[in-house]
Symmetry: C2
Subunit: 437 residues, 2 copies
């Protein structure tokens, strides 16, 4: 006998969880499409060289790589952004801007822990072929629409810009490779705290005392505000450009009527990935505190790795796992009723034809309908119906079969009544309306 088990960090999704996931994905899809995004799917397996060297040293180690039977080096996709960049380069005929969404699993050979899996879904929207900051702004408008539609009321979209951060680094005397180290340190602020970040900036980014003092005052101090930082970098061309991009994004949010409490410019937001070139953003849920549930940014140089001509691009990713976990935990799906579901027990083997015909009639009327396959004891069959959560039971016994009637039983109240077969679909529909299911 083979022990039934799955590798650590991987999961089965049983029907209850699948229903939640499908609902969240359905809401996202509707909104993405409403904004003109179209679906794309890419292979789960890519050539290893397509993925390698794109996710930083740490990320690269987490790629699932192997040699296939033809000795090709292949890898399971690590995210949806690199495959999209490969697609953008491979099909130059796609009309631009190319706006696509993709909702699909990715794999990372990470240490599994609570909320971190080796296989998990990403839900990405990206806009390829425009450098306009309106595109970045629209991604945030969509983010707010999705989260509100899902029922989140207290969240914050943090917005920053790599050009602003680069200019700031320049203003406080950080140069060359040290800028990357500086950003990576900054990215750890939420998890490690300001003390640790300052220490690491000193060792890995080589910050001077003066530099550390600037970081302390302008970036890490809770009282410092974005406009003060803006004052420091206005005179630098890259700084001015970054501030302008931010400005357009903020305006886009306002023109779409997104509530002012839902977004904020935040100089401490760096985002970990190396490839961002301009706007960066993420969403944190304030209540409950679960960390970021969306994140993204502009990556104007990435597609150039696969193509002779660079193509500007921006995108954001929703973390399905965290979103579903929180919604389940907080009962945010409680209001979501399943469609009316009707169960037909099998009273007696000889009544199968009558039972199946009634089931067919109910299905034609649009109701999810199930017939039990064996004439087990009625008690056992009803226990199954309860376990599966059926709202209604329709019993076709010998009397019902003879008189072309059915006994309709409400599973919640236990109440039941005998109806003519032609009245049955109407009664089922009425139940649905009455209980708003």
């Amino acid at each position: 006998m083979i022990k039934p088990q799955i590798p650590k960090g991987f999961r089965d999704f049983l029907p209850h969880t699948m229903a939640l996931r499908k609902r969240v994905i359905g809401i996202m899809t509707d909104i993405f499409e409403c904004f003109g995004f179209e679906p794309l799917d890419t292979p789960c397996l890519e050539y290893a060289e397509t993925l390698e060297g794109k996710y930083g040293e740490e990320g690269d180690k987490l790629i699932y790589k192997f040699r296939d039977r033809g000795e090709r080096n292949v890898a399971l996709r690590y995210d949806l952004t690199i495959p999209l960049s490969r697609v953008a380069a491979m099909y130059p005929e796609l009309p631009k801007p190319f706006k696509r969404y993709q909702i699909a699993p990715v794999w990372r050979a990470d240490k599994p822990q609570k909320g971190r899996y080796r296989e998990f879904y990403q839900c990405d929207i990206d806009i390829i072929g425009t450098g306009s900051s309106y595109a970045d702004g629209e991604l945030l408008v969509i983010t707010s629409r999705v989260l509100q539609k899902l029922g989140f009321t207290s969240f914050l979209m943090r917005i920053n810009n790599r050009k602003v951060l680069n200019a700031l680094a320049e203003a406080i005397g950080i140069q060359g490779n040290a800028i990357g180290a500086f950003l990576r340190c900054l990215d750890k602020l939420d998890k490690a705290g300001p003390e640790a970040v300052l220490k690491e900036m000193q060792t890995t980014a080589g910050l001077t005392h003066q530099g550390l003092d600037s970081v302390s005052r302008h970036i890490l101090d809770e009282r410092s505000d974005f406009d003060t930082v803006a004052g420091l970098i206005e005179s630098l061309p890259e700084g001015r450009q970054g501030l302008q991009e931010l400005e357009i994004m903020i305006r886009t949010l306002r023109d779409h009527g997104v509530d002012e409490t839902l977004f904020k410019r935040d100089i401490t937001l760096a985002r970990g990935l190396d490839y961002y070139t301009g706007p960066v953003f993420e969403t944190v849920v304030r209540e409950p505190r679960i960390g970021s549930i969306t994140g993204g940014g502009r990556y104007d140089d990435l597609i150039g790795l696969f193509s002779k001509q660079p193509i500007p691009a921006t995108g954001t990713s929703f973390g399905l796992e965290r979103i579903v976990a929180v919604m389940d935990e907080l009962g945010m799906m409680a209001g979501v009723r399943a469609p009316v579901r009707v169960f037909l027990p099998l009273f007696d083997e000889s009544l199968m034809p009558d039972t199946m015909r009634v089931a067919a009639m109910l299905r034609d009327a649009g109701f999810t309908t199930e017939v039990y396959y064996q004439a087990d004891k009625l008690k056992k069959q009803m226990a199954y119906a309860a376990a599966r959560g059926f709202a209604l039971t329709v019993i076709i016994g010998p009397d019902e079969a003879r008189t072309a009637t059915a006994t309709l039983k409400y599973m919640d109240s236990g109440e039941q009544m005998v109806l003519g077969l032609s009245d049955l679909p109407g009664a089922v529909r009425e139940y649905g309306v009455r209980y708003a299911v």
Copy 2:
């Protein structure tokens, strides 16, 4: 520069193809759920030992296997049936019958050729925990409902039973291991033809001249009918059991009003997999001749490989790739209109706020709406709208912005008119009704 490419046998699905695939999957899902099936998802990666030894010698060679970083032997799933069997054994608490559907990719390191891929989708429905042949019959009812809803009018569900085949083998003197070889030969009939099958039966299944003669007359002869075969095996217990199961399935189809021309008992149907124990079935499309597009059967002993107690099970699989290819080729999706989509060019950078507000209004009214992000030449923007297939264009120029109006342009006729903003959603809706989009 890295060459943008994907491994052979793998595919990108661009928006046009995705739309077709999503539509087919949507129809399947609706019907599966209407019959009481619930969604399940399992990891793409399983322990290798979970999959090995289940697909026959040939199949086993095609499993994508590798060692992960923790030196575990893992494999990409080869089908959805073995993972489901593992799930059934791993979660004994699932109410039985457990009726699940799963629509997901599988991987096989097969030689790629026209219509055969290394990554492809399966769409499976299975019923776990009942030995009743009504369950097998219901799978065929669902098959016919799905294919008809997709627009297929000329297809044939071929039905047979392994018990009938086993009894027939017994009746014509084939015994022990030779039975398996006999079935594998029979399975090749469609591809190889009767001559080659007879020859192979002689060499690999060790059939005597008398046996070959029986096969010729009762199985391969086009004039032989199922009832003649039934006469040969009625006296054998396994044969009687198999015929009874077939009888119940046929009755289930009739009680559901499935047209008699759509199904047929067929003694030549064997199905390749070793693990089938009773009913087997597949669907072939007659026009055009594309081979089988669904296939399945009962596998009562498979879950026992993972569990101390055997659990009866049956299931069927729809081949998404072939179905979509045929539907695309025959233009069966032509009648499917996209929802109304509205394009707003950006007349001038300064008009972005006005343009975005109109877009937001249209989205709130439920229309897929897209704003162009840059004030490129209007001609370029309109070419983009045409390439993306937008039905309507709404222009917000300086005059429109000043007077709270919009110019609505019909992309097909080129006709246009100026409307008050409050009349715009109504006009867009009316267009949708008029053209039944």
